[in-house]
Symmetry: D2
Subunit: 121 residues, 4 copies
């Protein structure tokens, strides 16, 4: 694994914005449409795994692993595009949600089971 | 917008891995299951926009905007988790896919239309 | 429109079951995997509409309309397959859900707005 | 299982159309929006199975089985609504697609494997 792995979201927002602008695609890039495109990409990722047992690395061909990499990148690109369109700061949003999830799923209630937090007793 | 907006993916991978480990959730976190969870979160995002006109910022209530922020964070968290499980480096994957998209959609063919690249003449 | 439009679900269940059996696909057709396949098909349908304005019939090319027809058929086929695997009777399930929806969305509260029932005051 | 299991699609189209009309929901029921709603329901179905092993009937609680039944009904209802909006006859579309699938996946090539037809050699 790389020593570092950093995403400069501000720069990626700018690059995708320029990409859309050069193609006169702003007319198509409403938040609604981007939410659809993101969901479509997430399903293309899902499709790779649909008939597999667990999708572990050893179960994937190198071609499938490469496809996962590409679809995952598309999911992230549309996520970043949507964040840009709605002025959402992802550097803030992600740790906030992680904190929320930790509170929804305290270790003592969540350990070893996959229940939704709404089903905890 | 923030002066900077950086995601330290390596650190986020480690945090999510620790979160899963503490809850004994590795048994559930197969790549296949995570691809499902990612798709479910992408659909929860989609749901917010389903009856809206464009989903522009001014069409969203502050509550809806906050929901978008939260669902987007979950999409990114599962994307990062999947990348971790399959040793995918996102700092490499994203610019590679952007480059591919630029080649699939050259400005002169893509300008002003939303055709899929497979339909270019 | 046809004078009648009837689906013989029992027969369709049997046909799909035979189709899977002949291909030795029962090993892949777990309810979990079929729920994934169904979701993938629903997204292929979604993809057709992602950059369109409303997707009204006059906005669709005859090729797109045909694609919608095909993807919709796949959604229904996997729905029927899942119902078969879990012994769900769709002739009962559909009117029951319609009745539930009518109670969740009474005319006086739902008229002219697209709020979710959980947000009614 | 019931001796018969029949869906009268024409009648279901009329009932859903009346349901939407009474609530002044035609403004929201564009084909595009219905494709989103359908995809959202398919994901709610997917969510039930996301952490399960196979989702076989014996692995589901009676509550989960009931949820599957309800989400499946919603998928079918939106499918029928979309077919109505675009004048698609499902009694024709389904056997046509089944025939297509049989040609894409001939027994001798498909037996015992889950490859996509585009990968057959």
């Amino acid at each position: 694994m790389a020593a570092n792995e950093i995403l400069d979201i501000k720069k990626l927002k700018e690059k995708f914005s320029k990409f859309a602008n050069e193609r006169d695609w702003e007319q198509f890039h409403t938040p609604k449409n981007i939410s659809m495109a993101l969901s479509v990409e997430a399903s293309e990722l899902l499709e790779i795994f649909q008939w597999l047992k667990t999708g572990d690395k050893k179960e994937l061909s190198s071609e499938q692993l490469n496809q996962v990499k590409e679809e995952l990148a598309d999911v992230l690109l549309y996520s970043i595009r949507l964040a840009d369109l709605l002025d959402i700061n992802l550097e803030e949003a992600i740790p906030e949600k992680m904190e929320q999830n930790a509170q929804k799923y305290p270790v003592e209630k969540a350990r070893g089971n996959s229940k939704k937090y709404t089903e905890f007793t």
